[in-house]
């Protein structure tokens, strides 16, 4: 007979437990029932804030499709387990469902602590834990201007970011004298505060809220013990968590003095048939407010139910996060509480980096660390700390800035096989090496095989370096040749072309390559030549190198016709120009669509029609939009201060200036910009390669974001810029990217692979670390000075126009191009229609 297993709570840990049990042999011994109080089953609370950047509840869901049905698990959704009767071994729910259990698992999580100050339950006084909480925040932010977070811990700062993103003037009120008092020390806290204040969040420390009352200018007013007051529309409490132990208390299980269901090393409560896991459980006097320890508890219980031995022996509370774009990490004994511990600190006021090492008295072991502003060493330091690896003779060398040529941290090779690489899924280096031996040769394959890297994602860089190191050891050569014709990387070729002054593909091939070339090296070299010399791309010596889109200065569509995209700088267009577009579209019977880049695309042009169409457009004042090139695409703008009641500066004017400045610039991949007139960010600048946002203090520059296949949020690069400095920085960033990126590497991936990352890029562009800035700007000036509209030049060259014919020996057209009508416009006929329907022939 099967036993009945009841799980109370379907949160992150409850679900991890169910998934693990379902995948284990023990699954067949139990009928499994779970109570889920929330209106939806488990979702990813760790990434909850991404709800504000567009993730939906479905995106956050942790439930694989069909999970409950496929595994025969009964789910009571939106039903809270209300009481446990341990004598009769039954659980009864709020809706009246009563289930007899043999084994019971409590995974009830925690709730946000709200300090019982008078007025804490007033309108717009909220917490941050569930999707419903986020919906309430969004609604409250809609009518408010000011938001205040009570609590400057890890979650509080994340909540502050959310309020800021919702467009509120944001404050953080902290009772303690510094931020993140639990995880980081005073020096780190001060640095973090400076950084966060620079982002426009006001931080108040040493503030004790005494009551919340009616506001004068806002919905609420917070009154502090020191007599000060703060007007705020939204109050968000983030003052710590409390375990949800009410149901356990109700049935007489042992509860800790300050709450929490007491468990032993098997995660058993004081009743041997009842387990508790996750944030509701108290182990050795500790509550773990992170997901990885909860997962470890879940694995312990699964092992116990399967009759094997596994003990929960505590968990590491080290964390690495990005708070409001600031890297913060805390490892082990960050506060140096260990007897005799020695402290090493490194502080760089200029680039706002703070690092602290806590080292054992005899200087051989790392006990803890704090990193603010640059957490690149997190992986290495964590390994030193967790695996007790002997420290180098001068431990501070681990946190001092590295100058080129010096060894970089702890190589993955130095790690023992037992070293834990992924804390979320407890994957050791040994397990990863076995997977590599079994044939996983990419990070994605390793993720699929071992699950490492699929939780918080924090271990992926380390995972990658272990992979590369193992592959190298197994004799795989990591081949970086561009293709079989050039045994060089794109960067190498760039330097050869620059240093040797090479101006054509043939010259480069003769000197440094072999064979005839191919569709990989030809466009890559064409792009480098164009970035550096900026010749007309259809010059005889260059034309054979171009992809078809560049050859015909238009984008080939599925049926061999082309699309036409004139430039509309900044998205600003007059009615007259719109009429021209309409007339041309109508005359040539083109399908017309507004693109995602704020301009108009005209589709269905035959090769031989392109010159006539472009002649009309150029005559009317349009220029090529380079939609076909790996080059500047669009600079999206919002309407900005000219019309918008919130606009701080002229975003349209700047967008037009930037688009005109960089149009025609050829680069390793396409480049997109946007400019927003205020932090409401209607132009979505933080999703672009280059993003600019107007603030009261000047322009803020964001770099290396993109949408597309793998969206990346841009990084804040500099703030408070005047227009000239802004442009100088953009010039330098772009040329540095063009010189050093890989073929078809967007700025996002480039930055992620750039040794030293954002800080290094800042050092090069802002501090002129490499002494290159003048040269970078000069190269950009050359490109700008030699700009030409490729279509205009082509229309003036009868010889070039000859190519725009389908047949060079006949005036006939391609009879394979067939359109049908849909919604009043043309589209290519599909194969079915070609056979069955009356076709609309377009002359």
């Amino acid at each position: 007979m099967k036993q009945t297993l009841v799980v109370i709570g379907n949160g992150m840990v409850g679900q991890h437990f169910l998934a693990g049990l379902a995948a284990s042999t023990g699954k067949d011994q139990y009928d499994i029932v779970t109570f889920c109080e929330e209106p939806r089953p488990a979702y990813d609370r760790v990434h909850l804030s991404e709800f504000f950047s567009g993730k939906t509840a479905e995106d956050l869901s942790l439930i694989p499709e069909g999970f409950f049905a496929d595994n025969g698990i009964t789910l009571h959704l939106g039903d809270r387990a209300a009481t446990i009767d341990r004598e009769h071994k039954t659980v009864t729910s709020a809706k009246g469902v009563s289930i007899r259990y043999d084994k019971l698992v409590l995974a009830t999580g925690s709730y946000p602590f709200v300090p019982p100050v008078p007025g804490h339950d007033r309108k717009n006084c909220l917490v941050y834990r569930t999707i419903e909480d986020l919906e309430a925040m969004t609604a409250a932010a809609r009518t408010g201007k000011v938001g205040t977070v009570v609590g400057g811990g890890l979650l509080g700062l994340e909540a502050a970011k959310a309020l800021k993103d919702l467009g509120l003037d944001t404050h953080v009120v902290e009772f303690a004298p510094r931020l993140m008092a639990v995880q980081i020390d005073e020096g780190g806290g001060a640095m973090l505060r400076r950084k966060i204040e620079a982002l426009g969040v006001t931080v108040h420390t040493n503030k004790n809220t005494s009551q919340i009352i009616d506001g004068d200018t806002c919905v609420n007013k917070m009154c502090f013990a020191d007599g000060e007051e703060l007007e705020t529309d939204v109050v968000l409490f983030s003052a710590g968590i409390r375990p949800r132990d009410d149901i356990a208390k109700g049935c007489g299980l042992d509860i800790g003095q300050r709450g929490g269901i007491v468990i032993d090393n098997h995660c058993k409560t004081s009743d041997p048939d009842i387990y508790a896991i996750g944030e509701c459980a108290l182990w050795n006097g500790m509550i773990f407010g992170l997901v990885a320890p909860g997962y470890a508890m879940a694995r312990t219980v699964i092992a116990d139910l399967n009759g094997s031995e596994a003990l929960f022996t505590g968990a590491d509370m080290s964390t690495k996060l990005k708070l409001m774009g600031v890297d913060v990490a805390s490892i082990g004994d960050a506060h140096a509480r260990t007897q005799g511990a020695l402290i090493f600190t490194y502080q760089n006021g200029g680039s706002d980096v703070y690092k602290r090492l806590v080292v054992s008295e005899d200087k051989t072991r790392l006990l803890g660390a704090v990193l603010v502003g640059d957490a690149n060493e997190y992986g290495t330091l964590l390994q030193y700390c967790q695996n007790g690896i002997a420290l180098p003779e001068h431990p501070d060398s681990l946190i001092l800035p590295r100058n080129a040529g010096e060894a970089v941290g702890l190589g993955p090779d130095a790690l023992p096989a037992s070293a834990q690489i992924c804390s979320c899924y407890e994957v050791s280096k040994g397990a990863i090496c076995s997977a590599i031996e079994a044939g996983c040769t990419t990070v994605n394959a390793l993720k699929a095989e071992t699950k490492a890297g699929t939780g918080c994602g924090g271990c992926v860089p380390l995972l990658k370096s272990v992979l590369n190191c193992e592959l190298a050891k197994q004799g795989y050569e990591v081949n970086t040749d561009l293709c079989e014709h050039f045994a060089y990387t794109r960067q190498d070729l760039y330097n050869l072309i620059k240093v040797e002054g090479i101006k054509t593909f043939d010259a480069l091939l003769a000197k440094h390559g072999r064979g005839l070339g191919c569709e990989i090296c030809k466009p890559a070299v064409a792009s480098i030549l164009a970035s550096h010399w900026n010749d007309y791309i259809l010059k005889t010596e260059h034309v054979g190198l171009q992809d078809t889109n560049d050859t015909f200065l238009a984008n080939m569509q599925k049926d061999g016709t082309y699309s036409v995209v004139p430039r509309i700088p900044g998205g600003e267009i007059s009615p007259d120009m719109l009429i021209v577009l309409g007339q041309v579209g109508k005359k040539y019977n083109l399908y017309t669509k507004i693109t995602g880049g704020q301009r108009v695309d005209l589709f269905g042009a035959r090769l031989e029609e392109l010159p006539a169409i472009w002649k009309e457009l150029v005559d009317a004042g349009f220029e090529s939009g380079h939609a076909y090139g790996k080059s500047l695409r669009t600079v999206k703008s919002c309407v900005g201060s000219t019309w918008c009641r919130y606009g701080v500066d002229d975003s349209v004017g700047l967008a037009i200036a930037l688009e005109n400045r960089y149009k025609g610039l050829r680069s390793p991949h396409k480049i997109k910009f946007a400019v927003s007139g205020c932090t409401r960010e209607c132009a979505e600048a933080q999703g672009k390669d280059i993003g600019v946002i107007a603030t009261e203090n000047g322009w803020s520059l964001y770099v290396c974001g993109n949408g597309g296949m793998k969206p990346r949020h841009a990084d804040l690069f500099a703030t408070g810029l005047d227009k000239d400095t802004l442009i100088a920085y953009i010039d330098r960033v772009l040329i540095f990217y063009i010189r050093t990126a890989d073929r078809l590497q967007r700025t996002s991936v480039w930055l992620e692979n750039l040794a030293g990352g954002l800080d290094y890029l800042k050092a090069v562009v802002i501090d002129d670390k490499l002494g290159l800035c003048a040269e970078l700007e000069q190269q950009m000036s050359h490109v700008i000075d030699t700009y030409q509209c490729e279509w205009k030049t082509t229309l003036e060259d009868a010889d070039k126009l000859k190519r725009f014919r389908h047949f060079i020996n006949s005036d006939q057209t391609d009879d394979n191009i067939v359109f049908v009508e849909e919604r009043g416009q043309i589209r290519p006929a599909n194969p079915e229609e070609r056979r069955h329907f009356q076709l609309v022939e377009v002359a």
Binding site: M556, H806, Q812, N816
Partner: protein
Amino acid sequence: MTIWFDVCAVEDLQPNSGVCVLVQNQQIALFYLPATESVYAVHNFDPFGLANVLARGLIGDIGGQPMVASPLYKQHFHLTTGECFENSSVRIPAYPVRIDNARVSVGIPEPSV
């Protein structure tokens, strides 16, 4: 039997690139490699993309074998055999080319009876 058709002058060709000619109602892509003084002819129809576009593809070599890459989805075709490098069961028609007195002619197989 192969029948030869005069299609164009050598100077009508595009160095290191392709053009398309109409011969007997067939669309034929011609590629010209001045480095080796060679001209190649294959059918213009891309059997994967189902469009007449191969003349607009990039040319070069794979392991020394001359090829054109389709501009649509980048499959490679051998310029003398027409065989697809990615899938040898796919083969496009390839034609012999002759150059005489700076004129280009293409050989088309006589339709078999």
